[in-house]
């Protein structure tokens, strides 16, 4: 049995890989969930067709990152997977149901007419909204820590209902909406783009407020996180993160007023990245917060080694043809139906 255990710190590599997969998921499905969240507010039916077409070739690939995140966690940190999933039972089920409705809506609404088309429009919207909100709830619950006994979740079915988790749920809805709005600015023009730009402005303000709320309340939940961020000299080392995020907000605001088409989307990604890095720093090295570190929850080294050997070869390929797919469907999306 081969194993890289003696030459590499496998759990750290896997932590980074899964962290990257989850972040890519958040970005990629973030913009298409965001489009779903904004969907009913679009100015016209034609506009709705158009923004739907702008994401139709990608949504399936985007959601695959969610499967990779879950599957990767199962493979590399089975203990974390086994403890966390039951803890998030209901939010995950609701998220899955939301993803089902929005996923089938892509195919169904193009084949439906009249009231049923309207119904699938709402299925798409409510499914996206539910999935986004529940992902935020899962994140909030994760940050707060969960009850564990031995190797099992030991809390109740409704432990996730807390003000903090509900707030992170709402925050993620607005965050995804920002990604969605800036994506629409990039992929459309005319009335649709104008509408998205107007929405992006107000959403941008909401996101900034939510970010401030979450950033300020997270240290209150946990003392370690508070010391990490507010003790010297850490405070100075870590201050670039919030400052950069703030700078990106200003630039985004300006870009929206200057009617830039592409940069707002990438600035939104940058804002997500700053938040994500902040979160990672706060929770390091926990994989089940405050209970199991990433080394304690790691799979057997031979299991992590096998999948790592495959991943080093396969992940660049996946990234390559994902890029090819985005390149193939570059430029503005058309409102016409496909195939």
């Amino acid at each position: 049995m081969f194993s890289f255990e003696n030459i590499l710190d496998l759990p750290i590599i896997w932590y980074a890989l899964i962290g990257t997969a989850v972040f890519l998921y958040v970005l990629l499905d973030g913009f298409d969930l965001g489009v779903g969240i904004l969907f009913p507010f679009a100015p016209s039916d034609q506009s709705r067709d158009r923004i739907m077409n702008s994401i139709a070739p990608f949504w399936d690939g985007n959601e695959t990152w969610l499967v990779l995140g879950g599957g990767g966690l199962f493979a590399a940190f089975p203990l974390a997977y086994a403890v966390l999933m039951p803890a998030f039972y209901l939010p995950i089920i609701f998220m899955l149901l939301g993803l089902i409705f929005r996923g089938v809506a892509f195919e169904f609404r193009f084949k439906a007419f009249g009231w049923s088309r309207k119904a699938w429009n709402y299925a798409f919207h409510l499914g996206s909204l539910t999935a986004a909100f529940m992902q935020g709830v899962v994140l909030g619950t994760f940050v707060q820590g969960i009850a564990v006994e031995g190797r099992r979740f030991a809390g109740g079915a409704l432990d996730w209902v807390s003000p903090f988790a509900l707030m992170t749920g709402a925050a993620l809805v607005f965050g995804y909406a920002l990604l969605g709005a800036t994506w629409i600015i990039m992929k459309t023009d005319g009335e649709t783009q104008e509408w998205a730009r107007n929405y992006a402005g107000s959403i941008c303000v909401c996101v900034a407020l939510f970010m401030a709320l979450v950033t300020l309340s997270t240290p209150l939940i946990n003392n370690d996180i508070k010391t990490l961020w507010f003790s010297l000299p850490n405070f100075f080392y870590l201050s670039p993160l919030p400052l950069l995020a703030f700078g990106m907000f200003l630039l985004l605001w300006k870009d929206l007023r200057r009617k830039k088409e592409c940069r707002p989307f990438f600035l939104s990604i940058g804002i997500f990245l700053m938040n994500y890095l902040g979160l990672g720093i706060s929770l390091w090295p926990w994989i089940v917060p405050f209970r199991f570190t990433l080394w304690e929850a790691a799979a057997a080294p031979q299991s992590q080694s096998l999948l790592l050997a495959g991943t080093l070869f396969l992940l660049p390929m996946v990234l390559g043809y994902t890029a090819y797919s985005f390149y193939t469907f570059r430029g503005k999306a058309s409102p016409e139906g496909y195939y």
Binding site: Y89, L96, S303
Partner: protein
């Protein structure tokens, strides 16, 4: 078993969600490969009939694929939400296999599906064909990994079990290529091809019967019959090999399939009957003497083990397996009969205009799905009461989640899947009703027609 027992509810939920899910891959695997062949014929011959067939079925493929994706994501999370003790213990082994499935298959399918569906004007013809082939290969790679994982749960090897109850891999080749895997893979892929063939053939038969889209219908019906002629008998052969493999590694499953309780030489084949778990006998059995021994051991007086060889708490529930097996085999035999009829009609040059045969094929349209479902019932229920055969029990595998939330999620899945499945079926039927966009002409494949048909387009 109590109705609100958390283990029972979790099993019911898994059974429901996976039965729902398997319908889509069973169709996706077959139709992806078939579309690749159709597109290849189109590029090769330039005959627009192939293009029209492709364009019609790729839409059905898309609806089906979408439902497969969303119902599949549910499963990848359900291992954790409902079977966390199982995930904790087997993660070292099954985790990498599922990880490889995502990395080698899911991304491939998802990315190139976009090009296959939406890329007509964006990429060249050959690149489009390439995308179709890649999607088809992706579905097979996906089947490879997931069936390897499932087969390992049936015939586990290449591991040691630690004192903590956790499984540790010792030999990956032995894990991936475990004894039942090659048989299960071939059997399942052939099943997917047959399922698709009978759907496509049924739709082709419907058009022929209504005398609509006759040119395209002959392509569908003709290609489907080729599959029925060659793959249906092969499937019987694959199934027999799979059964012999099961007899070697999971004999209790075979005893349940046969409804056999006493170990005996010259065991009869019970055609029908009702295996009674409590009375330890198969009631009302209709038997053919010695045939079971002959099939299983290739010897009239070979010994076949009965279920009483195992303590009652280690026996799988026989009635489910016994009946599922008979339904699966029955459908397989109907498919073989279809192939034989197709050959006879072909030789008499009546393949495309025999009304009763068109009706017969229309009736068999959903048969493959039923065979796939019942086949999986045999193999999965036959593994009980274990989740990993002989090593870990299903009852020890569930998550610490109460029956309340599980009952809630089960109800929600049931409701949502009914709506989604109903709508999906409705839209697929609408696509079939509309048929291919193709000017009606009978220029293709006149073989098998005594005289040119009067083509009436009623659409």
């Amino acid at each position: 078993m109590h109705l609100f027992d958390p283990v029972f509810l979790a099993r019911l939920q898994f059974a429901f969600t996976i039965s729902f899910h398997i319908l889509f891959p069973a169709f996706t695997i077959g139709i992806a490969s078939w579309l690749a062949v159709v597109e290849w014929r189109w590029l090769k011959t330039g005959n627009p009939v192939f293009e029209s067939v492709y364009r019609m079925w790729v839409k059905i493929f898309a609806v089906n694929f979408g439902m497969g994706v969303v119902s599949g994501i549910v499963l990848s999370y359900q291992f954790g939400t409902n079977w966390s003790a199982f995930s904790d213990r087997t993660g070292n082994i099954l985790g990498p296999l599922l990880g490889f499935e995502v990395l080698t298959a899911f991304f491939l399918e998802a990315s190139f599906l976009g090009i296959m569906l939406f890329g007509w004007k964006r990429v060249g013809k050959m690149a489009h064909f390439g995308a179709t082939v890649i999607v088809a290969v992706g579905t097979l790679i996906s089947a490879f990994w997931i069936l390897s994982a499932n087969s390992w749960m049936q015939t586990p090897q290449g591991f040691i079990k630690g004192a903590d109850g956790i499984f540790y891999p010792t030999n990956w080749i032995r894990i991936i290529f475990n004894p039942s895997f090659p048989y299960r893979f071939v059997h399942m892929v052939a099943a997917a091809y047959l399922t698709t063939a009978f759907v496509v053939g049924g739709v082709g038969a419907y058009y022929l019967w209504r005398r609509r889209h006759v040119g395209s219908a002959r392509v569908m019906f003709g290609m489907a019959m080729i599959m029925a002629v060659f793959v249906a008998p092969l499937q019987l052969f694959f199934g027999d090999l799979h059964g012999l493999n099961t007899l070697e590694h999971q004999p209790a499953k075979v005893s349940a399939m046969e409804g056999l309780w006493e170990t005996q030489r010259g065991a009869p084949l019970k055609l029908f009957g009702w295996p009674d778990q409590k009375k330890e006998t198969t009631l009302y059995a209709l038997e053919v003497p010695k045939l079971s021994s002959l099939i299983l051991t290739h010897d009239f007086n070979g010994e076949v083990k009965g279920l009483k060889e195992w303590p009652s708490e280690d026996r799988p529930p026989a009635a489910w397996i016994f009946w599922s097996f008979r339904i699966m085999v029955g459908i397989g035999l109907l498919m073989i009969a279809t192939g034989i009829a197709a050959v006879i009609l072909f030789l008499r040059k009546r393949l495309f205009d025999t009304r009763w045969f068109q009706f017969w094929c229309m009736a068999l349209t959903p048969s493959g799905f039923l065979a796939v479902l019942t086949g999986w019932c045999v193999t999965e229920i036959g593994r009980q009461p274990f989740i990993v055969y002989n090593v870990m029990r299903t009852a020890d595998s569930v998550s610490p989640v109460g029956s309340g939330p599980v009952a809630l999620s089960l109800g929600a899945f049931f409701l949502v899947y009914t709506v989604i499945f109903g709508a999906g079926t409705y839209y697929i039927l609408k696509l079939i009703g509309k048929g291919p966009d193709m000017p009606e002409d009978a220029s293709f494949g006149t073989h098998g027609l005594k005289k040119p048909l009067l083509v009436v387009d009623r659409s």
